[in-house]
Amino acid sequence: MIVSIIIPLAASASSTILIPVVILGVMGLVFGLVLAFAAKVFEVKLDPRVEQIIASLPGANCGACGQAGCAGYADAIVNSDAAINLCAPGGPASVEAIAKIMGKSAVASEKKVAVIHCSSGGTNNTKWKYAYQGVESCKSAVNIADGPNMCHWGCVGFNDCQAVCVFDAISVDEHGMRHIDKEKCTACGACVKACPRKLILLVPENRNVVINCSSKAKLPVAKQLCGTELPCIGCGLCGRKCPVQAITVENNLARIDYAKCIDCGLCFTVCPTKAITDAKAGMRKKAEIVAENCIGCTICAKICPTKAINGELKQVHTVDKEACIGCEQCVAKCPKKAIKLV
């Protein structure tokens, strides 16, 4: 049929241009129509939930969920029964959206942020062993004589963590120190993997107390090595002081178990080397019991980690302001909401 249409055209004067154009044009047109037709006839319906989930995910393809990308995760949720709270960047919002699509109940994961457990690493607060002149990467720097810095547990400062952060949450100040923006950080864990010193750990966002060191060196050595001279020496004072036994010391290094930590800041106050930082230091309010609401149930006295609340059963309780550390544990537990913070 095509041939019979084209043959008369061959007679025209401009046939050398026209014929190839027409033939290829018709070929393209026919193929296009066949494909368009086939797309309708042979259409395979995909599960619409997959597309809905892809739409509700952030689309960063960061891989925090363990899948290759957001599309892979959506497919895994629908077809392989994957957990719905694995998307770190999406946070509670996407968990809720996916829960709605899948008809599952939302179990939002606790929002975490990455924290660099080292106070050193800048141009003016690192003690150098030698001048490293090589590939500008932490991974390569740490391979030469345990890294160019004296402390071979500490930050080498070539910003591998910043390079892998797709959310632009890690910035470097004029002294070469890294700062993690809690707002931008999605706890995807890319920097945790990138740091060859394993300095970065994910910490629940609402915690303010951090042991800012990863050194496993002992007391005199640790201080000599540390650029900021604020190392954890593993003395264990914080662990003994901790009201909830959330701190364990291993290999001369204290670590906080954030599942137990109540963010009271007591460890910060006792640390002899100031290796522990507390963003809320001095800002914690003390508990006070409103006398008219208190029914004397003793729940607060039992929960108080420092035994700062006294009072007999069925009597109005009082708070010892000196002993109160402002951990706010009692506020949440009081059935009558009789405790306020001042």
Binding site: V3, I19, M27, V34, L35, A38, A39
Partner: protein, 200 residues
């Protein structure tokens, strides 16, 4: 020579003497890229055989009945690419609908080889005049496409088999993966060079 004799000659030629990968150096991308595992190499090989056979048939028809009558042989590359791309797309849709199992096993390899030079290569070689000035007819074109695909699959599987075993070899880290793969490809090409000039 009868039909079977000719077929035998063509098979030996397409699979060993004029192997697409090792003596024509076409389709090197999947040869190195999809030869890490035997499973995926097999899937790729089947997809290549399938597409090469179909492409040979369709491109021959397009060339013989659309391009030759109007003296448009110089448009062969353009027309063949168009034909192959549309054909692979169409076949993919049909397979996805009618045979999900086959679709899963050919899977990603089908669209991958749409633009593979081996497929375009076989289509163009089919219409290229032979030493005696004649060209393959339709049947021989399709057979040549099929046998060339078999040849491709043969070396792809050989490569994948060797590479799977190389994984277990205690090799310097810098030689693992692609470097040893390239050396292997070179040695295999040298081995196939031995078939050159074979008279049947």
């Amino acid at each position: 020579m009868g039909f079977l004799g000719q077929l035998f000659v063509m098979a030996i030629s397409a699979i060993l003497v004029q192997n697409f990968v090792l003596s024509r150096f076409l389709g090197l991308c999947p040869y190195l890229g999809v030869s890490k595992k035997l499973d995926s190499a097999f899937g790729m090989g089947m997809a290549v055989i399938f597409v090469m056979t179909l492409a040979s048939a369709f491109c021959y028809l397009i060339f013989q009945y659309l391009l030759v009558p109007y003296g448009l042989e110089y448009l062969q590359t353009l027309a063949f690419i168009l034909t192959i791309a549309a054909l692979v797309q169409f076949v993919e849709m049909v397979i996805q609908k009618n045979s999900p199992a086959l679709y899963k096993s050919l899977g990603v390899y089908l669209p991958l080889i749409t633009t593979n030079c081996a497929v375009l290569g076989v289509a163009i070689l089919n219409i290229t005049p032979l030493a005696d000035g004649s060209r393959y007819n339709f049947i021989w074109s399709v057979l040549n496409g099929f046998l060339s695909g078999v040849g491709f699959t043969f070396v792809l599987l050989a490569m994948a088999g060797i590479r799977e075993r190389l994984e277990l070899v205690d090799m310097p880290k810098s030689m693992r993966g692609m470097p040893s793969g390239l050396i292997l490809a070179g040695i295999m090409a040298l081995a196939f060079y031995g078939f050159m000039g074979m008279k049947i």
